[in-house]
């Protein structure tokens, strides 16, 4: 319906609470760049917390292990964290996606 618009890339967010020991995966969000991703993460995932540490990583940069030998019949080897449509087939002329 709308003409093709490049969407903001997807980022995974990791938060360590003020008294926390490690960063935990909180979810994902869309942002145009890393600075915006941190700002969005602060608004979206830490609205009620002070003194938190935020990591954001491009979802397409994450390398994930296979679910494990118990799930013998899992999805064919794809090392992405999940199968997001934008992780693949990036045309040469489009940068940073």
């Amino acid at each position: 319906m709308t003409q093709a618009e490049r969407d903001w890339p997807l980022w995974e967010v990791f938060i360590r609470s003020k008294s926390g020991l490690e960063h935990k995966h909180a979810g994902s969000l869309h942002a145009a760049d890393a600075t915006m991703a941190i700002e969005h993460a602060r608004d979206l995932y830490t609205r009620r917390m002070e003194g938190v540490s935020i990591w954001v990583v491009r979802s397409s940069e994450i390398v994930a292990s296979d679910p494990g030998e118990g799930a013998a019949l899992f999805e064919p080897a794809r090392d992405k964290v999940y199968r997001h449509p934008t992780f693949y087939e990036i045309p040469d002329e489009v940068k940073n996606l």
């Binding site: 979810g27 979206l44 994930a64 997001h84």
Partner: protein
């Protein structure tokens, strides 16, 4: 771009023979039966994936569209405190929509595609947000009844079989409790107020009661997706059971407020220990779902306008990001 991802989705399914497929399905069901969560990289039947994409995205759309009927009263809230609380509530709803789109994206669909479906009118969202908020009491009624119904629906979803959806729901439920309390408190203040305020509260209850009951969806016998969703532990409690719970919990609250529920057939059944209630007019529900509710048009128009008018902003942000990255590369 996102259609290419979906092509890959199709290709991978084709590699699996029907014998393997049966084995995969058995293993998958065993996971479900053991109350183990299904995670994004696990094999899942295509229909499971599609059902979840549909349900999670509808839920996400509902949160986003749901910002509008209440957002409508932010500039007119009657005290500074009420204004602040209402902004916080609507902000939460936006956040919930974002969490849910994130959960849907783990299933291999892009948020942009889901939003396009919403704006094209091909995606559904909760019927309740197609009703207008015409008085301040409506804000109270939405918090009390609509959020009350939503909570009832959402708590079982925290035990949904799909990991990302369940985790999003846990996060959402934690934030949800203040929403309903805020709404009820508004109703209480009005119910104890001037004659005009009491009328305002009663009128809102009259308008929002039946649409709230319809939120739980049609009776499971008439529901298309019910049986499969139950088997896959996406749906943990039936529509009718949730609706009954809601009525049982809410009627005493209305009595406390001194307001009358607009149902002449409402009656306590001592034997069953439940409230019996009148027949729901499903024709109204169907009209709203078809797009003929009081505000369907306005809601979509508002979202389309926001999306269109914001296009230059989103594009500018990307252009800036590209330029910054190019500079960084050149400097390196």
């Amino acid at each position: 771009m996102y259609t290419q991802g979906l092509d890959q989705l199709g290709r991978s399914e084709l590699h699996v023979s029907s014998a393997d497929s049966a084995a995969l399905e058995r293993e998958f069901l065993a996971h479900i039966d053991r109350e183990e969560r299904i995670e994004p990289k696990d094999w899942m039947p295509p229909a499971y994936r599609q059902t979840l994409i549909r349900q999670i995205s509808q839920h996400a759309h509902s949160e986003i569209v749901g910002m509008l009927p209440e957002g409508n009263w932010i500039t007119r809230a009657p005290t500074l405190k009420r204004k602040a609380v209402l902004i916080a509530k609507v902000q939460d709803e936006g956040g919930h929509g974002a969490y849910l789109y994130s959960a849907a994206e783990t299933l291999g669909v892009a948020r942009a595609q889901l939003i396009d479906q919403l704006l094209a009118g091909t995606a559904k969202y909760s019927s309740i947000f197609n009703y207008p908020t015409v008085s301040w009491a409506d804000v109270g009624a939405i918090g009390w009844l609509v959020d009350g119904a939503a909570i009832m629906n959402q708590i079982p979803l925290c035990r949904c079989s799909y990991g990302p959806y369940a985790r999003a729901m846990i996060r959402i439920c934690k934030e949800e409790s203040f929403h309903q309390r805020q709404g009820f408190e508004i109703m209480l203040t009005l119910a104890r107020g001037t004659r005009e305020q009491r009328s305002m509260a009663q009128a809102a209850l009259d308008r929002w009661w039946w649409p709230s009951l319809m939120m739980f969806g049609p009776s499971d016998a008439d529901s298309m997706h019910g049986a499969q969703s139950t088997r896959w532990k996406i749906k943990r409690i039936s529509n009718d059971d949730l609706r009954q719970r809601f009525v049982d919990v809410t009627v005493p609250q209305a009595q406390f407020l001194g307001l009358k529920i607009p149902d002449p057939d409402l009656l306590w059944d001592g034997e069953r220990q439940h409230y019996r209630f009148g027949a729901i007019d499903w024709s109204e529900f169907n009209e709203v779902l078809k797009g003929n509710g009081p505000c369907n048009h306005e809601r979509l128009a508002a979202r389309r306008r926001a999306h269109e008018e914001g296009r230059w902003v989103r594009e500018a942000a990307l252009a800036y990001a590209d330029r910054k990255a190019a500079r960084a590369e050149a400097a390196a």
